[in-house]
């Protein structure tokens, strides 16, 4: 993305995040097939390939694909059980879907020339809002107005409780914001960094030894971050779910 313009080096690390329609240059409506929806579709296809086709043979001695599918299943299963408790296992399908979707969006975004849907706050905020709304509705359905005990800290002295309740309510509304910013910010920062170093390499030409080494290192780090951020997104979903299931402190 770097071009040697007349007055020096021009780096456009953010150009990779522009949402473009796939066909033509028309206006971008919510139904327009764009690069975001294309790569989200790719990650869904990859999920189906791994989890449905990979385990279709149901071998007693699993092959590589089935092994990966089973490992990711038990990874999320253990996470839900340990963080949110046994009674949260009913909601395991939701959490597993979120995990594999975010993971594949992150990892497929590392393919060169691809697009990372999870680098857009619009995508991560939708996911975080889905989690926030479903967890809040679930809390009210399970506990009625008793769910509001989540904000009423009974271990604190009585005069302090209203103040703490305000802070707790505020914290509750901060959570989806930080939940979405964290994922999008991490994805965007790493990709922009790779692009900047790639621009250096493009300018240096054959002497670009150092930028290429750096890109390789950052790429490895990005692969780790792609996984860790999917993990963090999922584990925080579990934490919120636990609050909805057991609102009393």
């Amino acid at each position: 993305m770097a071009t040697e313009a007349g007055d020096g080096l021009v780096i456009r690390p953010m150009d990779q995040f522009i949402v473009k329609p796939l066909f033509g240059d028309g206006p971008l409506m919510w139904y327009t097939p764009s690069n975001t929806s294309l790569w989200m579709a790719f990650s869904l296809i990859a999920v189906v390939l791994l989890l449905v086709l990979g385990t279709a043979r149901r071998a007693h001695v699993p092959g590589r694909m089935q092994m990966i599918a089973e490992l990711s299943y038990s990874f999320v299963f253990n996470m839900v059980r340990d963080v949110a408790g046994r009674d949260a296992l009913k909601y395991f399908p939701l959490i597993m879907s979120i995990f594999v979707f975010v993971l594949f969006c992150n990892v497929l975004g590392l393919v060169p020339m691809s697009f990372t849907p999870t680098s857009h706050i619009a995508v991560t905020a939708t996911l975080a809002l889905a989690v926030f709304l479903s967890v809040t509705v679930l809390g009210f359905v399970l506990h009625g107005f008793g769910f509001l005990r989540l904000f009423w800290i009974s271990s604190a002295p009585l005069p302090l409780r209203p103040v703490l309740a305000v802070i707790e309510v505020m914290s509750y509304f901060v959570r989806p914001v930080s939940h979405s910013i964290r994922l999008a910010g991490n994805m965007m920062a790493g990709h922009a960094m790779i692009k900047v170093f790639a621009a250096f390499a493009g300018v240096l030409g054959f002497g670009a030894f150092l930028p290429i080494v750096t890109i390789s290192a950052v790429f490895a780090l990005e692969l780790l971050i792609a996984f860790i951020q999917a993990y963090v997104f999922t584990i925080l979903t579990c934490v919120y779910l636990r609050d909805a299931l057991h609102p009393a402190h």
Partner: protein, 128 residues
């Protein structure tokens, strides 16, 4: 004669399997310091997002009621408090996971026989 060598080989095999099982760490190592960086990021982002939400809510309400600086100041401070609250909660979660881990490693030897079933859960409990 043959029997004793066979039983010795069998017990050797058993030892090898046991040592491999205890060394095995499937998945990635969540206790590694590099993989705990997300906890620090979580705290920082919670703090900043708290202030941001506070400013936004305060400014919106001010805009609605026409009392510009008052509610914004109040809600910014509330947002800061909310961010610190989330930070402290994360710290509490981490420290309780640490305590759980250390108490488990103190009592690890008697629990060795059930290690097979527990190992998966123990590793995950430390990650939050």
């Amino acid at each position: 004669m043959k029997n004793t060598t066979q039983s010795r080989r069998l017990s050797n095999l058993g030892d090898r399997i046991k040592s491999l099982q205890t060394n095995e760490q499937p998945g990635f190592d969540r206790d590694h310091p590099a993989n705990q960086a997300h906890v620090a990021w979580r705290m920082v982002i919670d703090l900043v997002a708290g202030i941001g939400v506070g400013v936004a809510v305060g400014f919106g309400l001010d805009h609605l009621f026409g009392t510009l600086p008052v509610l914004m100041v109040i809600f910014t401070l509330t947002g800061l408090a909310a961010g610190v609250n989330l930070m402290l909660r994360t710290a509490k979660e981490v420290s309780s996971a640490e305590r759980e881990k250390s108490s488990e490693s103190d009592g690890a030897n008697p629990g060795q026989s059930t290690g097979q079933a527990d190992r998966g859960t123990r590793g995950d409990a430390c990650g939050n």
